[in-house]
C-alpha cells in the first residue's frame, strides 16, 4: 500500500487537503536541515519532500538554487538523504525523496530503492524523469513497493496525462504553472484546469499541486480543488533568511490552517 496515498486519504477523511513541504537536505548544513524538516512536520505538514542537492537543477528558481548550491559545494548528496528520511518518519511525517535523476542513477537505482525502503521512505518524486525513460525506476519501485511520483504540466496532452497517471503511484504532481519553482503572488488559473483535466483520468490517484504556493490563503485556494498542496520555495526562504526551524514550524502552521479552511473537495 502506498504510504503517500494513505496519508492523503487520511487528510481527506479529516475534510482537508494534505500539506506537503519541501526542504533540501544540507542547507545550511545536514543537521540543521533535518531539524527544519522535523519542525515542518511538527508544525502541521503531512509529508516532506526531502530534496537531494543537485548541481544542475533545471526546474528550480533562484531560491531553491541558492540553497542547493551551498549543499552541493559542501559535498552533500544522496547518502545524506537517508538520515533525513528516518528523522521525518520518526516525527510522524511521510518522507518522500525529491531528486533529479542523475544522483539516483549514479547511486544505483536498485541500491537507492532498497536503501530508501529500508529507511522508511515512501518513494521518490523525479522532476526530470518522465515515465518514458523510467524503466529501471519503475521496476525497482515495483520490487520494493515504493511510490513513484511523476509530474504533469499545463502543456501535457491528454494522452500524456493518461500515461503519466498510469505510471504514478502515491500521487501525481501537477505543476501548476509553466515555469520554475518560486513564490508567486497569485495561484495560476492553469492549476485548476490542469487538475480538472488530470482528474478525468486519475481514478483514485491523488493529485497534488506544486509550484508557486507560498502562504495560507494560496494553500486554501489550491486545497479547494486538489488533494494535496506542495510548498517548497517558501520553506526554503525561511531557511535562507535565517529564521530556521522556528520559521519553518510557523509556516507549516499557517499553511496547515490554510488547507483546513477550504473544506473537503466534493
Amino acid at each position: 500500500m502506498s504510504l503517500l496515498a494513505e496519508r492523503i486519504a487520511a487528510a481527506r477523511a479529516e475534510g482537508r487537503a494534505a500539506l506537503i513541504a519541501y526542504l533540501p537536505v544540507g542547507y545550511p548544513d545536514v543537521d540543521t536541515s533535518i531539524e527544519a524538516m522535523v519542525a515542518a512536520i511538527e508544525g502541521g505538514a503531512d509529508a516532506l519532500e526531502v530534496g537531494v542537492p543537485y548541481s544542475d537543477p533545471g526546474m528550480e528558481g533562484p531560491v531553491i538554487q541558492e540553497a542547493m548550491d551551498v549543499a552541493v559545494r559542501a559535498g552533500v548528496g544522496l547518502r545524506h538523504v537517508l538520515p533525513a528520511v528516518r528523522a521525518v518518519a520518526a516525527a510522524g511525517g511521510v518522507p518522500v525523496v525529491m531528486s533529479y535523476w542523475n544522483p539516483i542513477e549514479r547511486y544505483g537505482v536498485d541500491r537507492f530503492a532498497d536503501d530508501l525502503a529500508a529507511a522508511g521512505g515512501a518513494g521518490a518524486i523525479t522532476p526530470d524523469l518522465i515515465p518514458d525513460e523510467a524503466g529501471a525506476w519503475i521496476a525497482a519501485s515495483d520490487r520494493t513497493g515504493l511510490d513513484r511520483v511523476f509530474l504533469v504540466a499545463p502543456s501535457s496532452t491528454d494522452a500524456r496525462l493518461a500515461a503519466t497517471v498510469a505510471a504514478s503511484r502515491g500521487f501525481v504532481y501537477a505543476a501548476s504553472t509553466m515555469g520554475v519553482t518560486g513564490t508567486r503572488t497569485t495561484v495560476s488559473t492553469a492549476a485548476g484546469e490542469l487538475v480538472a483535466r488530470t482528474r478525468t483520468v486519475a481514478g483514485d490517484l491523488p493529485i497534488c499541486v506544486g509550484l508557486g504556493v507560498s502562504n495560507g490563503d494560496q494553500a486554501a485556494e489550491v486545497a479547494g480543488f486538489a488533494d494535496g498542496v506542495i510548498v517548497g520555495s517558501a520553506y526554503v526562504r525561511e531557511m535562507l533568511d535565517g529564521r530556521g526551524a522556528e520559521g519553518v514550524r510557523a509556516l507549516s502552521a499557517e499553511l496547515a490552517d490554510g488547507v483546513r479552511r477550504a473544506g473537503v473537495r466534493a
Binding site: 537543477p57 533545471g58 528558481g61 548550491d69 549514479r106 509553466m178
Partner: protein, 450 residues
C-alpha cells in the same frame, strides 16, 4: 593504435544517407533520450514533428541551400597546409575551412536551420546558450536576418573571456544575459536557457547550439551540421581520388565533430578522431575531456558521458577554450565511442596553444582555440601514421575572438594592451623555439595518443 592498412581508394561519392540512429524516441543505443521536466515535452514533440516535416520539404531544402550558399558562403573550401604538415610527420593535412563561414565558425550552419524551423512553427522569440560566444553570435545573426527577438545566456566567466563576442551579439540586437549561478560557464548558461524556455515556451523557441540536449536536438543539429562532412568528403575525393585516412575534429558538445564525421561513418577505413579539451591534463582533474575522463549519466536532458563525482554532481570543467569548456558531450559521440566507430583523445591547453601558434606562423591562419585542439591531435596522428597519411581536419572556427587569450598565453601584452604586432617576431614568447623547430610538440612521442 595501428594505422589503417587499406586506403579506401575505391570509395565513390555517395548521396548522404541518414544514419539509422537515433531511434524514434531519440536514443543512440543507451544514450540520448529525454530527461527533462514534463512541461517541456509538448514543445519537444512540436519541434520533432515540425522538423521531420520540414527536413523533407523541397521548399525548405531549397531555402536552406540558398542561405548556405548566399549568406554563409558555402561550400567552404578545403585548404592543404604543407608547412604546418612538416610538423606532423610529413603527413598531408587538409583543413575544412569552417572558419571562413559568415560569423566565423560552423555554428551558422545549425542556427540557420533552426531559425527557419522557428519561423515555421510561428514563434517570434529565440533563446540560446553560448560558451565561446560563437553560437550566440550565430543565433543573434540568424535572428536579425529573420526578424526574431533573441536572448542569449552566457556564463559570466565566459562573458569576460569572450568580451568581443558579447559586443558582437549586442550589435546584432540580441540581449546577452550573464549567468551568475554555478560555475558561471556554458553548463550554467544551458540551465538558465532551459528555465527561460519552460517559462516562455509558448512564444519562444530554444535554438540549441550543439548535438547534446534532449531529443530532437542531437539528431537535428547533426543533420544541419553534416553539410561539413558531406562537402568535405566530395572535395577530398575530387582532389585526391581517395578518402582521407582519418578525420579529426575538436569535441566540446561535439557539433562540429559530428558535422564532419557523419558523412564518413559508413567508410570503415576512415578513422574518426575526436579531440577533447584536456585542460591542465586529465590526470590533474582540471580538464573537459568528457569521454576520456567521465562516466555515463544524465545531464541537460540526455544520457551521455559526463564529468561527475560520486554524488552524481556535475564536475566543473576546465579548458582554455570557452567553447570546449563543457562537462558533457553529445550522446551520439558516446554511442560512436562505445561501438568503437570513433575514438576520443585529450589535448592539453599547452598542446593546443602550440598548435595554434604553429598554424598562425606556418600558414597565416589564426584558428579558434577550440579548433587548435584538433590541430594538436593532427600533429600527433601525423607523426604516428607518417608521410603517406592523408588527414582531414575540421577547422571549425577562426581565432579573432581568441586574440586576447592567446596574447596573454604567449606573453604578448597585458589585458589592457593587446598589441601582438611586432611582439610576434621577438624571441620573448615561449613557444618560438618549438614553432620554428622541426618538432612543435616536444615531449609527446609519436603514438602516445590520438
Amino acid at each position: 593504435m595501428t594505422s589503417s592498412a587499406v586506403h579506401p581508394t575505391q570509395a565513390r561519392p555517395a548521396p548522404p544517407a541518414r544514419p539509422s540512429w537515433p531511434d524514434a524516441t531519440g536514443h543512440f543505443g543507451v544514450f540520448g533520450g529525454r530527461f527533462v521536466p514534463e512541461a517541456l515535452i509538448a514543445a519537444l514533440d512540436e519541434l520533432t514533428e515540425a522538423y521531420e516535416a520540414m527536413r523533407v520539404d523541397p521548399a525548405f531544402i531549397a531555402e536552406f541551400a540558398a542561405l548556405q550558399r548566399d549568406y554563409t558562403g558555402r561550400p567552404s573550401p578545403v585548404t592543404e597546409v604543407p608547412r604546418f604538415a612538416e610538423h606532423a610527420g610529413g603527413a598531408r593535412v587538409l583543413l575544412k575551412r569552417e572558419d571562413l563561414n559568415h560569423t566565423g565558425s560552423h555554428k551558422i550552419n545549425n542556427v540557420l536551420g533552426q531559425a527557419l524551423l522557428t519561423r515555421r512553427i510561428g514563434k517570434k522569440r529565440v533563446i540560446a546558450e553560448t560558451g565561446a560566444g560563437q553560437h550566440g553570435v550565430a543565433t543573434a545573426t540568424a535572428a536579425a536576418l529573420m526578424g526574431l527577438s533573441c536572448t542569449v545566456y552566457m556564463g559570466e566567466e565566459d562573458t569576460r573571456r569572450q568580451a568581443l563576442n558579447v559586443a558582437r551579439m549586442r550589435l546584432l540586437g540580441a540581449e546577452v544575459v550573464p549567468v551568475t549561478t554555478g560555475s558561471r560557464t556554458l553548463k550554467d548558461a544551458i540551465n538558465e536557457a532551459f528555465r527561460d524556455w519552460v517559462t516562455n515556451v509558448e512564444e519562444t523557441n530554444y535554438v540549441f547550439g550543439t548535438v547534446a540536449g534532449p531529443h530532437p536536438f542531437p539528431a537535428m543539429v547533426r543533420d544541419f551540421q553534416r553539410v561539413i562532412g558531406d562537402e568535405a568528403r566530395a572535395q577530398v575525393l575530387e582532389r585526391e581520388g581517395r578518402l582521407p585516412d582519418a578525420v579529426l575534429a575538436c569535441v566540446g558538445g561535439g557539433s562540429n565533430a559530428i558535422g564532419i564525421f557523419t558523412a564518413f561513418v559508413p567508410d570503415d577505413g576512415v578513422r574518426l578522431v575526436g579531440l577533447e579539451a584536456g585542460g591542465d591534463g586529465v590526470e590533474t582533474g582540471r580538464h573537459a575531456a568528457t569521454i576520456t575522463g567521465g562516466a555515463p549519466g544524465v545531464l541537460h536532458g540526455a544520457r551521455s558521458y559526463l564529468l561527475q563525482d560520486d554524488n552524481g554532481q556535475t564536475i566543473e570543467s576546465h579548458s582554455i577554450s570557452a567553447g570546449l569548456d563543457y562537462p558533457g558531450v553529445g550522446p551520439e559521440h558516446s554511442f560512436l565511442h562505445d561501438i568503437g566507430r570513433a575514438e576520443y583523445h585529450p589535448v592539453t591547453d599547452a598542446e593546443a596553444m602550440e598548435a595554434f601558434a604553429l598554424l598562425c606562423r606556418t600558414e597565416g591562419i589564426i584558428p579558434a582555440i577550440e579548433s587548435a585542439h584538433a590541430l594538436a591531435g593532427t600533429l600527433r596522428l601525423g607523426r604516428e601514421l607518417g608521410p603517406d597519411a592523408l588527414l582531414l581536419v575540421n577547422l571549425s572556427g577562426r581565432g579573432d575572438k581568441d586574440v586576447e587569450t592567446a596574447s596573454r598565453w604567449f606573453g604578448l601584452g597585458d589585458r589592457d594592451e593587446v598589441d601582438p604586432g611586432p611582439g610576434m617576431d621577438t624571441d620573448q614568447q615561449p613557444t618560438e623555439g618549438a614553432v620554428t623547430s622541426g618538432d612543435a610538440v616536444p615531449g609527446h612521442e609519436a603514438g602516445e595518443s590520438a
